[in-house]
Symmetry: C2
Subunit: 286 residues, 2 copies
């Protein structure tokens, strides 16, 4: 097992939480008293991290929010902060990179050497050789887009492609799931991104990939149902999920109580997920 | 027509060149006398731009090479430099972004407001609503990945999906081409990325999309043949292509003569392309 997957499994065991807290700092939604500060998005993320770290199995900063502002330094600072204060909580950098080998090597450097992320999201459209350079970082996790949570996800991912086992074919996202559970997963470090907004498809993916970690966006603001998500997404061991919530936690309040409110929503979300997880570990009640 | 497409067409007419010069500054390959300078990749790109601007229909910086080094400031500087000194040569930022709407908005800001690129490459795997936010910048160009030049491109793009017009189906990349030539192209600002390494597939795409601009990587270091590429890729007007060359030009020499050698390779490449373009415009000989 890669050390990212090991860290994740340790984290799942120790906190019994599948909640992944997404860090998407939208400057227009920051609490008023932070607006205008040059380090506003770092400060905001730091407060969210401090308020939710004990409830989270992982943090997932979305690089686009930092890049739009030219605030890569603040992204680096928040990842450093998490590593320093909460070393048991892995950081998944959400960047959805996808390019040919020589360029993918540069993106891998960006994610793993510059930002020191523990895992990265990537796009499969360009095929295996566009994923392979990331696999050279064998201790890192790679989450490949499979079935995304947005409505347009169906445009390509829902197309019928040939299947070895079913003459009626399969959806493209199922083909991606099979590739990632099979030949593409050379070092056992792959996971998949599967949206919460299509529970039956989440269920299909889970059947195809065994206990592979699934990063599941789409609950909360995007409308995915927690109970259906956990019922369909959990592995046979009652885990295997990073259920992401960003906006519902980050912007639970726009007042000075945003840390308290963020914690409250994170706690409720963790517990709502936990109630559906089976089998419940002995320490689930702590 | 969007103003990017207009700029591009003006450029094609005025210089009769389909050569797009890719700016992929790999620090390990820079000329010795630049190594170690804090602005080495900006200086290198500036010298390449100066040496090739009159031969190019466009420049295409690859963001990964800058991001790996934390050198976004140098990317910004080189785009500013091109805009200032060579305002008729559009800049295509190669970033292959792909994410849900709210995040795509941030990537659009990054590309068009922060870096002031004239066009951007994007990934279609997440569907139309992941492309739509870029279309709000109606004067910009958007190149959607269709059939990429790498060997693994076939893994997904070559899968057979249903077709309205052919009971045998079509390849996924053909489906993407049809979407981009049809319902996705709301403001007439889309182009496609189609690799030079599969000329017969380039030909299929051209048939499907009319005169749409095609960004064509894969000649030179990647092995695509120029004659076959131009024969199969040009539009009915004898243009419609941005044929990208990066490494063959950038690293034509690792000595102090790299500017001269880069210009020489760019000139040869432009002329090799020009010889195959039909119909030859009256001013082709100048």
């Amino acid at each position: 097992l890669s050390s990212f997957i090991q860290t994740l499994q340790n984290r799942w065991s120790s906190v019994n939480s599948a909640l992944c807290v997404g860090l998407d700092p939208d400057p227009s939604k920051l609490p008023l008293h932070l607006k205008g500060r040059s380090d506003a998005i770092f400060e905001f993320c730091k407060h969210i991290v401090d308020a939710t770290a004990d409830l989270a199995c992982a943090f997932k900063p979305q690089i686009a929010y930092f890049a739009a502002l030219g605030a890569e330094d603040q992204l680096q600072a928040i990842i450093d902060y998490i590593h320093r204060l909460y070393p048991h909580v892995p950081v998944v950098l959400d960047a959805k990179r996808g390019d040919i080998g020589a360029t993918a090597q540069q993106y891998a450097r960006e994610a793993f050497e510059r930002f020191k992320a523990d895992a990265l999201t990537v796009n499969p459209y360009m095929g295996f050789d566009s994923i392979e350079p990331y696999l050279e970082y064998a201790d890192k996790g790679i989450f490949v887009l499979c079935r995304t949570s947005n409505a347009g996800g169906t445009d390509l991912q829902g197309l019928t492609v040939p299947s070895d086992s079913d003459p009626r074919g399969q959806c493209l996202f199922e083909h991606v799931a099979r590739l990632c559970a099979g030949p593409w997963n050379k070092n056992g470090q792959l996971g998949l991104v599967v949206g919460a907004t299509f529970p039956s498809e989440l269920s299909k993916v889970r059947q195809l990939v065994g206990d592979m970690p699934l990063l599941i966006p789409g609950i909360g603001a995007q409308g995915g149902d927690i109970v259906a998500t956990v019922e369909h997404g959990q592995s046979s061991k009652g885990q295997g999920m990073l259920i992401n919530s960003s906006r519902a936690i980050l912007y639970a309040s726009s007042g000075e109580d945003y840390q308290d409110k963020a914690r409250q929503v994170a706690l409720e979300t963790r517990d709502a997920i936990r109630q559906v997880l089976v089998p419940k570990p002995a320490k689930a009640a702590t």
